[in-house]
């Protein structure tokens, strides 16, 4: 028993030690962000940190999943959704602490690692090399939902159904095509424009906006972020010229109204 007792005390001691070291963790702004923002938001945070010493940590996921987590009071300070409907629903639940800010409109593109599909357009689906097509999960990822709408618009839905692979969010769908696991993907323009994806294939086909409902994107400070002035500071930065420039670089158009 003696030996075991000692081991147990050691274990308790270690736990205590970790508890102490952990107590000093800094205050930072947690941003729950749609996966299509992966590269854009990372850049924005980089520029933001040249001005202010506030740590901003992005957590990427599908907007629907993040909304679900926020409804269950996940401790995120800011919510940036690829579909403005989710922040609106959150506001209806009384879980927001600012106006909803529409930072851009996203676009869907057709992208393949090996082939340039720019001139093929939607006919790319007919190519013999297309065995798997990656989209985001339409149940909770806005880009996935729009992809399905667009496929239905062009009458491809039934023919493609057996070929579809669904990523947890648009970033995972992009990863499926970027690794070549899927031959073709319906992904976010903002991801296709990122250096990581351009490395493989810089060309893409911009899917006409008329084939699906618009991807109007919105950001909001959550009720968890209400007591944090840092969150409002970052939100203000998102509305500034520099952030808008970065959004534009990654293919987000400004809402016409």
């Amino acid at each position: 028993m003696k030996c075991n007792g000692k081991a147990f005390l050691l274990l308790l001691g270690l736990m205590f030690f970790y508890q102490l070291t952990w107590a000093q963790k800094e205050k930072s702004v947690l941003v729950a962000a749609a996966s299509d923002l992966k590269f854009a938001l990372d850049s924005i945070i980089l520029v933001f940190n040249q001005e202010k010493e506030i740590t901003v940590k992005p957590i990427y996921g599908s907007s629907g999943k993040l909304y679900e987590q926020l409804s269950n009071r996940a401790p995120f300070h800011i919510f940036m959704s690829a579909d403005v409907r989710y922040p609106e629903l959150l506001a209806e639940k009384g879980l927001t602490a600012s106006e909803i800010y529409v930072y851009g409109v996203g676009r869907l593109v057709l992208w393949s690692r090996k082939y340039d599909v720019k001139d093929l357009g939607m006919e790319a689906f007919q190519q013999p090399w297309v065995k798997k097509v990656a989209i985001a999960n339409p149940d909770h990822a806005p880009y996935g939902k729009r992809a399905v709408e667009s496929l239905a618009f062009y009458g491809w839905q039934e023919k493609l159904a057996p070929l579809l692979v669904k990523g947890e969010n648009i970033s995972q769908a992009a990863q499926f095509v970027a690794t070549g696991a899927a031959d073709l993907g319906m992904i976010a323009l903002s991801l296709a424009l990122s250096p990581t994806m351009k490395k493989y294939q810089s060309s893409y086909y911009l899917i006409p906006e008329s084939s699906h409902s618009p991807l109007v994107q919105g950001a909001v400070v959550t009720s968890h972020g209400e007591s944090s002035p840092e969150s409002y500071a970052f939100m203000a930065f998102l509305k500034g010229e520099k952030a808008i420039g970065i959004f534009r670089y990654f293919g987000f158009s400004q809402p016409s109204n």
Binding site: L11, L12, M15, Y60, G61, N72, R73, P75
Partner: protein, 224 residues
């Protein structure tokens, strides 16, 4: 290189293993010696996490402990305690999820102790507590080690539950398994590779030390 997912994982595994020892020893003792007829019901319940996918546990934890629901709302209002998207929530989930890995080795450790020893201790007028602490536990060290290592390792390797009730929050719930998933999804393969290699090295080392400590005994890391 951001090492915080490792610290967090280590902390989670230590807490979980510590708490599991406190729960597991009495439970395994009871399972080994109770003459209650419906004991097998408890055995089945304890082993459930071995069979069920982590999503089931994740789903119910979300359901029970969301502040939007009665139970979670009650804890939130009166105790300021949230068990979804927080570290304490992960500890709770891991304790449930790793319970069989603690209880089963301990249980076979208890049953492996010769009945004669227990009878002798009691004949000598020692109570149950002394029998447990002076006779049983010292003679099942390898079972204790196995139980501890398995619980620890299983918690380190946990993924599904954490993904569901953790919310991938840096320094709070982004454990190493989730961090690797995150890096792969973000196409940072270099970082994912570094994390994975460190994890393989660490896990191998832990198991190596365990097997080395138990090198002369058979039936070390099994609990049949």
């Amino acid at each position: 290189m951001d090492f915080s997912p490792f610290y967090l994982t280590l902390r989670l595994a230590l807490f979980t293993t510590g708490i599991l020892f406190l729960i597991g020893i009495p439970l395994a003792y009871w399972l080994a010696f109770s003459r209650l007829r419906i004991k097998y019901v408890v055995e089945a319940i304890v082993s459930l996490p071995l069979v069920l996918p982590p999503t089931v546990l994740g789903f119910y934890l979300l359901l029970f402990f969301s502040p939007e629901n009665p139970m979670g709302g009650f804890l939130d209002r009166y105790f300021d305690l949230r068990l979804v998207f927080t570290f304490p929530g992960l500890v709770l989930a891991s304790v449930i999820y790793s319970l069989p890995f603690m209880v089963q080795p301990l249980r076979s450790g208890f049953t492996g102790i010769p009945k004669a020893w227990i009878d002798t201790t009691q004949t000598l007028g020692k109570g149950r507590w002394v029998t447990l602490s002076r006779v049983m536990l010292p003679n099942m060290k390898s079972a204790l080690l196995t139980a501890g290592v398995l619980s620890f390792a299983h918690t380190v390797g946990e993924f599904g539950v954490v993904l569901m009730v953790g919310g991938n929050i840096p320094d709070e719930t982004r454990v190493i398994a989730v961090a690797i998933y995150n890096e792969v999804e973000a196409m940072n393969y270099g970082q994912a590779n570094t994390y994975s290699l460190i994890l393989i090295g660490f896990s191998f080392l832990v198991l190596l030390i365990t097997y080395w400590l138990n090198r002369d005994k058979s039936r070390v890391l099994s609990y049949d």
